[in-house]
Symmetry: none
DNA sequence: CATGAATGAGTGTTCATTCAT
DNA sequence: GATGAATGAACACTCATTCAT
């Protein structure tokens, strides 16, 4: 009989099987991912996640032992999904530049995060245990590695300058993350995702400097 | 039981005037800046700031009305200081590339932040009132603007490609922030700040792509 | 060190169902009403209410969102109970004077408040939100109205002088409240509730002045 | 250098003697009385009193050792002033009824209290030490006694019914206080102080009941 | 499977009070 | 006479977590 004079009511016990499109545990994961990405680890309360899922806090704890565990699961799931989609594009048979441009376009178009991965990840770091921390970093690495491998290949084929593939990957993802976030906060609203992606890749490919050979 | 000042006690009232190297309000600002940059807004407690300053929570509140106000003051102070140092270098009479390299080197060398500006800033956003939010964004803009102006000048002089100066500034700062953070967390420890700065600027200047003119 | 249940400890989680005479939320309400009436709004801490109920502060907040909400709920419940009991007497088939005397006697006999309604109510006023303020005043009005209606009726029947029924109700309740409070604080302890009630009603009915018609 | 970035400034040391209409200690007393009567003991902070006086908290403490002491001094001063004014009227050579009516009119006209004496007094009770409590009650008694003596005299002269003079005094003051408070909060705004005073005294003098001699 | 009830350890904030100047 | 700086003890409120059902 929580909060005397509340409105919402929920009876205990297993709910009827019908009309249950998504498993509860899965719904929680989705909602949690959204919230964590929107507000960061500390600012999201387990209660808020539960409320959004229309279940109780206890239910969340039934599936995920701690807030940190929920966070880890939610973010890893999200990252895996991104890594997969990214890989699908990376596997295409096109010049690297075009593939990266496409990835950028898609990423910049899909909205609603307000914070970027790295941010959320690093903020939560302090609250995770070693295992969770490792899992998160592995999932992060996974994405980086895929991009990195693509660069490594391109270097081998002489399509990009032979700097560190790791550096390339980080630079690419960093810029992508950062502009993604800005796009939904401040940047001149006129800038479209498409334009920004093109500008970014142009810059990424040939830098800011006037090529001396042009002279 | 040896350490005389170990079990330390403090009585109320104004302390004797002597032995006061730094003003308390200033000390609080420094400590707060360090902590916020290391752990983010939510994770830092006002108590922790006070403890580190060897004053009580109430003393912190004597100077700063709320945690958000403390945060705002601390971060703005930090940003101003960086903006100033940056400007000093931007004012030199050298090619832009060299000036940006120097800024990068210095920034990557000075340590201890763990998180980057944008991160901390955006995390705190939710907890600030409109005035504070504005003040923070202004301070942030200040730095961006200075870099941007340098780029705009260079564009005019034909020293860099005529893309948006704003884009250049954001890209530069984003990469700098990101690598600065990584340098103190994960990256192969072998990478020195100097090397990283050079790599970064090389990339920044001429991008990843093989110059077509070479062919 | 004898008293087994003296150093008492409580672990979290739902308590076993047995041995639960009163619902916790109800107990809290009772205790809160007592304390608020004894000490006023500001002076009662939520902690004190919790302690008295042998639950934790968090439990109180589980049922009542804020101290003001707790106050509102507690006081309204108390007022309703009084209004009901009062109505029961007002409904009797006796002269108004006798009914009011009975109400006074009962009220003056039941102890433990130290402060009077109006006092507590008005002190809390500043801390309540509009909704709560309204609810409180409604509950207060309820009691006044019942008394007022009784007077109105009596006026119609020519049993009391045709002054404002509202004024009569307020005067009656005011005197009752005030003497109730005094009875438990200062007044000559010899005065019994019964005597005081009689004196009060005598005065209420025929005032202080020497009836001119007597002369 | 309180609250970094505050506006108001005050330099230490004794202020110049000119333009100092009221002694600081007296001003504090006035302001404190107003505030305590408007908000009660607990709700008024020493800081608020200081601010209103345009001095600092420390200054208040320079004159009054504790908040309770300030309260006691302020309220006693107020009560004395009222007692004096009341006495002045009581000393007139008119029928008691007329004198009480005049007192009522004046009291109901002078505004701004929101709470009544008894209320404020009893709320503070818990926070006062024995001496202060005594002093307050003495001051309160003083007023009651003066009214009481007037009634006693009238009883002797056969001008009022020979009930307890103490009771009469309390009833009179209680009604006065209560209506005074209501007049400034809720009561139909149309009711004027004058009308209310007349109604009250009519009632006070001849009560609510239909005089049997009328029959 | 899912919940309602309860807790413990904070967290930001307030405030009366103190003391060297 | 009056102040600025500082403290300590509370206080309202939050939240992750637990447990019997």
């Amino acid at each position: 009989m929580k909060r005397v004079s509340s409105t919402w009511k929920k009876s205990p016990g297993r709910p009827p099987a019908h009309a249950k499109e998504v498993a509860t545990s899965e719904k929680i994961l989705q909602v949690a991912a959204d919230l964590f990405m929107a507000q960061g680890f500390e600012s999201v309360t387990v209660d808020a996640v539960a409320r959004e899922c229309q279940v109780t806090k206890a239910t969340v704890y039934y599936y995920y032992a701690t807030k940190a565990a929920l966070f880890t699961a939610a973010v890893i799931r999200l990252m895996d999904s991104i890594a997969q989609k990214t890989q699908a594009i990376l596997d295409r048979d096109e010049p690297l530049q075009q593939r990266l441009l496409l990835i950028a376009k898609i990423r910049l178009m899909t909205g609603g995060t307000r914070l970027d991965f790295d941010m959320v990840l690093h903020e939560a770091d302090l609250s995770l245990n070693e295992e969770q921390r490792q899992a998160m970093h592995d999932a992060e690495q996974e994405l980086t590695n895929r991009i990195m491998r693509a660069f490594a290949e391109a270097i081998e084929k002489g399509q990009v300058k032979p700097l560190s593939a790791h550096f390339y990957a980080l630079a690419y993802l960093t810029l992508l993350n950062s502009f993604h976030m800005r796009l939904f906060n401040e940047l001149e609203k006129a800038v479209t995702a498409d334009n920004l992606a093109v500008t970014m890749m142009d810059f990424f490919w040939s830098g800011a400097g006037i090529s001396s050979s042009v002279v």
